[in-house]
């Protein structure tokens, strides 16, 4: 009886066949996306697309053309980059966990790798997102239980269906299989899902949807001379300059520390 309030554990998720794991991961991530507020539409679209990719791949069972799988693999670096940007900017544990859940759902699609770890991670991040949101908003125990029960119900439903059909790693699991996200109704004060304006009519393109029109401005800082404060000050000055031209400020897209010592030593004197 107590189990119905527990989210599925890792070993339980791993017991599902491949595309059931992916679909379950997408489902967990989808449920907590409304917790991500205050991000631009284009970033929200990327996260929604990441979950959509996972659902599409699961629905096709990785067959027949594998377009969705290929698209997910190609899109992952961009998704990761955008989530990193969200995480450095949004000081909200629930949003960060919800964003990570979306990334892990897409990561679960990768061919040649087991979806078990990312699928379980997606579920874990979804639980964390609910807990963080509940903590911030003073939610009751019912909120936690409702979210975990919803996950448990999804898991048991897909597990039972797979067992009935003798499903395996090629069995597709469509998104529609799961039904409404909240069979008991969403928790009290749960944010409404943000409806994104449709960017295009008709057929939805999978490939290339996540490639943003760039190009980021790359800045290289010698950290041997410049302190972290110096670097931040220069970034702030550039951001101000951008605003002075009518822009809305600069955000950090990505950071990489380069180590010159990784260059090979020259041969000879």
């Amino acid at each position: 009886m107590a189990r119905e309030n527990d989210a599925p554990e890792r070993h339980e998720i791993m017991s599902l066949p491949r595309w059931a794991q992916v679909a379950f991961a997408a489902r967990c991530a989808e449920r907590v996306q409304p917790l991500i507020s205050r991000i631009p539409d284009h970033e929200r679209r990327v996260l929604a697309g990441a979950i959509d990719l996972a659902y599409t791949a699961a629905a096709s069972g990785g067959r027949p053309t594998r377009d969705s799988v290929h698209a997910a693999t190609q899109a992952l670096p961009d998704i990761e980059r955008i989530v990193t940007r969200i995480m450095t900017r949004v000081n909200d544990a629930a949003a960060m966990s919800a964003a990570r859940a979306a990334v892990e759902a897409a990561a679960a699609v990768r061919l040649g790798e087991s979806p078990a770890y990312p699928a379980a991670s997606a579920a874990a991040h979804a639980v964390d997102a609910c807990a963080a949101w509940g903590f911030i908003h003073g939610a009751t125990q019912d909120t936690f239980d409702r979210a975990r029960r919803a996950m448990r119900q999804d898991f048991e439903r897909v597990r039972d269906a797979i067992q009935e059909r003798n499903g395996n790693d090629e069995t597709p699991v469509p998104k529609e299989f799961f039904g409404p996200l909240w069979t008991e109704g969403a928790p009290e004060n749960w944010p409404e899902d943000v409806r994104l304006e449709e960017k295009s009519s008709g057929t939805r393109k999978i490939s290339g949807e996540f490639y943003e029109p760039k190009a980021a401005l790359s800045l290289y800082f010698d950290i041997g001379e410049l302190s972290d404060s110096d670097i931040a000050e220069i970034l702030g000055a550039l951001s101000d300059l951008y605003r002075g031209l009518g822009g809305d400020g600069l955000v950090i897209d990505r950071m990489t520390l380069l180590d010159p010592s990784l260059l090979p030593e020259p041969v000879g004197a």
């Binding site: 290289y220 041997g224 931040a232 951008y242 809305d248 400020g249 260059l263």
Partner: protein, 156 residues
């Protein structure tokens, strides 16, 4: 016993974009032009056009290759990145408060920003490199040495 600070080594690459992609697309080139003017006004060009021509060879493909070659993994870079991100967020917050208190005309805001960037550039030398549309900026008093490292890494 004198407490000596361990000197850090490395090049931190930070990619920035505008908050709104549409605005960024339309203003990116203007921003680079403005930065270029500021840099030209503070840098002492030792070699004149030779430096600019050399700087153009640093295409984004080359620089991305250098990044892939030299990327350092580990806790140290996570600490540096997190600290820079935190300090920058604080900078932006302070800047936002200042703007609220002293609402200025756009022209004045731009002039103030130019002054701020010039002040920041007193800390270091800087050079704009790369082809139009693929520009990057290198900050460091040993700019030529930094370019040497990036060039070598790109060809490795």
């Amino acid at each position: 016993m004198e407490n000596q600070l361990q000197k850090r080594e490395g090049i931190l690459r930070i990619d920035v974009v505008g908050k709104s992609p549409d605005t960024w697309s339309s203003l990116r080139s203007k921003l680079l032009a403005a930065i270029g003017k500021v840099l030209d006004s503070v840098i002492d060009p030792e070699h004149g056009t030779t430096v600019r021509e050399e700087a153009k060879k640093f295409t984004s493909a080359l620089l991305d290759h250098a990044r892939a070659r030299l990327a350092k993994a580990g806790l140290e870079n996570e600490k540096i990145e997190a600290e820079v991100a935190k300090l920058y967020a604080e900078c932006e917050s302070i800047s936002a408060d200042a703007r609220k208190k002293h609402a200025e005309a756009e022209a004045t805001e731009f002039e103030t920003a130019v002054k701020r960037l010039k002040l920041a550039l007193e800390l270091t030398k800087a050079m704009l490199i790369g082809e139009p549309g693929e520009e990057a900026i290198v900050f460091g008093n040993q700019v030529q040495a930094l370019l040497g490292v990036l060039s070598e890494a790109a060809q490795a």
